[in-house]
């Protein structure tokens, strides 16, 4: 990756944001009728029982709120242009969220073309947090592998393999802890295979990763027809129950989204904290990062490069395997092509998040929201195609690696086999 002068391409993002803001103000703001209203509701659909607080519906004038949101995005763009902050990427993320909110206001306006005259914010957030959770597992797997210098492009394969075996175990035992363990073991096995071929046999990591994905998707699709179809009780599609955290789950909006989740969700949050701490605050993390940046130097101070890489890739595989189980535990029955490219979105989230756990979370939330909206917008009969929202994570990632939006720098030895000289 070449170093990017901040003045040059850094300003591209500022212009992009200003254009986005203008679009919001003109199309979504002045494009809606003066008397149009948008209604946001907050009542959770999945919790019954009493809640101490109740959030009323938020009714706003579509035109003026979208004009304000557009102006906010423009302001962010102007600020990026003038001050050229280092965190331009974060400002772009903020602008993207404003954009999505404005889009929702506009899509659900009434009188308008929409059949559903309101947006249930709580269900939008819970729906997208389910996707974000899977992306977090995947991008954390990428962080573990790539920080040690091994490219894990096989996240998708570990997802789909984990989901398959998770489904079989969950169907036979109805125990999602066992399913998660099974998925972890299987993902770790795939991670070991990747590490084995990449480290011992110096195979090309990107090629091995791509081929592992096709192997896993064809193998699971084969097993689905050959084993799961004749024995449907191996794939009954039971989903995991949520574990509401007492009291906290009663908080409006935040409660149902963050504190009435599955164990997998809490595990993802916990893993982010653990990996983040271990990577940047412990001796182990320092060693891992040394191996990923400059393996020769690491070796010269007595770090075993190969062992570090093996360990990390196996751990990364296990994390992605659990991610596959988490996907299956929230979506139900296994099908061929089950994860439909989510592993590559996780790779995108890893890159957008600059190879850090916390960045991966932000990217996963943003990409999860856009992936959910790409599906969810169809019920609002929006004149803009949901396909363009679906493109968003991929386009942003391309812009990021091209240095158009901020800068990212991968670990220096990422993807390069290490040979002792």
């Amino acid at each position: 990756m070449t170093t990017t002068p901040v003045n040059g391409r850094g300003r591209v993002i500022a212009v992009l944001m200003m254009a986005l803001g203008l679009l919001v103000a003109m199309a979504f703001g002045f494009g809606s009728a003066g008397n149009a209203h948008s209604v946001f509701t907050f009542a959770p659909v999945n919790i019954s029982g009493d809640r101490p607080w109740h959030l009323g519906d938020l009714t706003v004038l579509t035109r003026w709120w979208n004009v304000v949101l557009g102006l906010l995005i423009i302001a962010l763009g102007v600020e990026t242009w003038v001050r050229r902050p280092k965190a331009a990427l974060a400002r772009f993320g903020g602008a993207a969220i404003f954009f999505l909110v404005a889009l929702l206001f506009w899509a659900s306006r009434s009188p308008g073309p929409s059949q559903v005259p309101f947006v249930n914010v709580t269900s939008v957030l819970t729906g997208s947090s389910a996707i974000a959770m899977v992306l977090i597992f995947g991008s954390l797997s990428g962080v573990l592998c790539e920080r040690a210098g091994v490219v894990n492009i096989a996240i998708e394969g570990q997802f789909i393999g984990g989901a398959f075996f998770g489904s079989v175990i969950a169907s036979t035992t109805n125990n999602f802890i066992l399913a998660a363990l099974g998925g972890a073991v299987f993902g770790a096995l795939l991670g070991w295979l990747l590490a084995f071929l990449a480290i011992r046999y110096l195979a090309d990591q990107v090629i091995i990763g791509v081929v592992l994905v096709t192997t896993m998707s064809s193998l699971t699709s084969y097993l689905n027809l050959q084993v799961l179809t004749p024995y449907p009780n191996l794939n009954i599609g039971n989903t995991v129950a949520t574990l509401p955290i007492p009291l906290l789950d009663k908080i409006p909006l935040i409660g149902p989204v963050l504190f009435n989740e599955t164990g997998f969700f809490y595990l993802a949050i916990l893993l982010v904290a653990v990996v983040s701490f271990a990577l940047f605050r412990t001796r182990w993390g320092l060693r891992v990062r040394a191996v990923g940046e400059h393996p020769k130097a690491a070796e010269s101070v007595g770090i075993n490069v190969a062992r570090t890489r093996y360990r990390n890739v196996i751990m990364g595989g296990a994390v992605a395997g659990v991610g596959g189980v988490a996907f299956m535990a929230t979506q139900g029955q296994f099908q061929p092509d089950y994860t439909s490219g989510l592993g590559y979105v996780a790779l995108a989230a890893l890159i957008f998040g600059r190879w850090t756990p916390s960045g991966a979370v932000v990217a996963s939330v943003l990409f999860g929201l856009s992936a959910y909206l790409a599906n969810g917008l169809q019920s609002y009969s929006v004149p803009i195609s949901s396909e363009f929202i679906g493109m968003f994570p991929y386009l942003v990632t391309i812009a990021v690696v091209a240095g158009l939006i901020g800068r990212v720098r991968p670990p220096a030895a990422d993807g390069i086999p290490y040979q002792r000289s």
């Binding site: 990756m1 070449t2 990017t4 391409r9 790539e146 210098g149 490219v151 492009i153 071929l197 046999y201 110096l202 195979a203 090309d204 990591q205 990107v206 090629i207 091995i208 791509v210 081929v211 592992l212 096709t214 192997t215 064809s218 193998l219 699709s221 084969y222 097993l223 027809l225 050959q226 084993v227 004749p230 490219g341 590559y344 790779l347 995108a348 890159i351 195609s385 396909e387 363009f388 679906g390 493109m391 991929y394 386009l395 990632t397 391309i398 690696v401 091209a402 240095g403 158009l404 720098r409 991968p410 670990p411 220096a412 030895a413 990422d414 993807g415 390069i416 086999p417 040979q419």
Partner: protein, 409 residues
């Protein structure tokens, strides 16, 4: 950094490929054994009688043999029906259908693989053949269905539109790599998804959507834009004039790599970029050019697929050309990025895909087994040192031969 391409793996590449194929089919057999109920039952009764072992072996060979025989018969043909047709001069259609189907599937595959191989030879990994083929299909569908002209003008223009679509798809990663240093693997991988979404959008919108349809389906190509069946529409054989396009592409690829100045510059860049720069080749220009050619070939593959097999774009085309894009990568690895190797590799993988259908119909073993075998073969081809160890071949000192560079390069 060592940027040697995958060209020179091992001392005897064809031997290694043969062993990789052997391992692929062996593992495929293991998968069949482990998942087929009659075979498993036979082994479960291993200790029931003294001859149970023989019985179990018998059942195993029967099942695996039946599957692999169906693969062969479905993709190449049945020897006895060949004999019958030769003797009586009748039912040639039925006899030749398997071969015709294999050639039909191999045609776009050869073209796309040639594109991927050219990139590999230059040290570039183009995972985006997939998306470029889709763009080629969109371009071809546009000209092929919206324009009306006699075939002599219409067909070449349709094919050119496909090439143009692919070139466009290749230009994006090419420009981003040479001017912004964006890694081509990430960009092409992400572009595949962007383009797949774009395809869905295009076939749902005017003007390309079939008028009067609410489904995701495009207009049908004019008859004058089609690559017609080679033996006439009445022959019942689908193999089309596209094979000549594929043959032309192979000839072009051979000439380009071995005889042209630009091809030489590509290969030097792939082997040693510093030497290429010292020799006065402009690396930025070469990266953009290789992506244009590689993408153009992938686009041509997409439009050939459209004009010879699909005739319109729908969900099946998306899956079909997605198959082309990813299979092309595996084919060019298998064929070691050489024109002749690519022809054989494409025929083999097309045969596996076509024969897989017959296998599924006759023995109930899912078609996906063919894809598993393909993937495993390529996994071994990509790890030559492992194959050497398994077969106790004399291993030279381990050398790194990479097709791709680390993210930060």
């Amino acid at each position: 950094m060592n940027r040697t391409s995958l060209r020179r793996i091992g001392e005897s590449p064809s031997l290694l490929t043969f062993f990789a194929l052997l391992l692929g089919f062996l593992i495929g057999a293991v998968v069949i054994i482990a998942t087929t109920a009659p075979v498993l039952n036979a082994w479960r009764q291993l200790f029931s009688s003294p001859t149970a072992v023989l019985h179990a072996l018998n059942v195993t060979f029967d099942n695996v043999g039946a599957a692999y025989r169906a693969l062969f018969v479905g993709s190449i043909g049945n020897p006895s029906s060949f004999a019958h047709s030769l003797a009586t001069g009748q039912s040639w259609t039925a006899t030749l259908t398997p071969l015709s189907e294999t050639l039909t599937y191999a045609t776009p595959l050869v073209i796309a693989s040639m594109g991927v191989a050219l990139a590999f030879q230059t040290g570039i990994f183009n995972i985006g053949a997939n998306g470029q083929a889709i763009l080629g299909g969109i371009g071809g569908a546009w000209i092929g269905s919206m324009m009306h002209a006699p075939m002599i003008i219409h067909l070449p223009l349709t094919l050119l539109a496909g090439v143009a679509g692919g070139v466009l798809g290749g230009l994006i990663p090419g420009i981003l790599k040479s001017f912004a240093g964006a890694h081509e693997v990430i960009v092409t991988l992400m572009l595949n998804y962007v383009i797949a979404f774009f395809l869905v959008y295009v076939v749902q919108s005017t003007p390309l959507q079939q008028p009067g349809q609410a489904n995701d389906i495009s207009r049908t190509l004019d008859h004058s834009a089609l690559l017609l069946p080679l033996f006439g529409a009445g022959s019942g054989l689908r193999v089309s004039y596209g094979v000549f396009v594929a043959a032309g592409v192979v000839a072009f690829g051979w000439w380009f790599l071995n005889r042209s100045t630009l091809g030489f510059a590509f290969r030097v860049t792939g082997a040693n970029p510093n030497a290429a720069r010292a020799a006065g080749f402009n690396p930025k220009r070469i990266i953009i050019l290789v992506f244009m050619i590689s993408g153009g070939l992938a686009g041509l593959a997409g439009v050939v697929q459209l004009a010879s097999t699909n005739y319109f774009i729908d969900g099946g085309f998306l899956i079909g050309s997605a198959g082309i894009g990813f299979t092309a990568i595996t084919v060019s690895l298998l064929g070691r990025n050489k024109p002749a190797g690519i022809v054989w590799g494409s025929l083999l993988f097309a045969a596996l895909g076509v024969g897989g259908r017959t296998m599924q119909a006759r023995t109930g073993i899912p078609l996906d087994l063919a894809l598993i075998i393909q993937s495993i073969v390529v996994l071994f081809v990509a790890s030559p040192v492992l194959v050497k160890e398994i077969f106790r071949l004399r291993a030279k000192a381990q050398t790194v031969q990479l097709a791709t560079k680390g993210w930060s390069q």
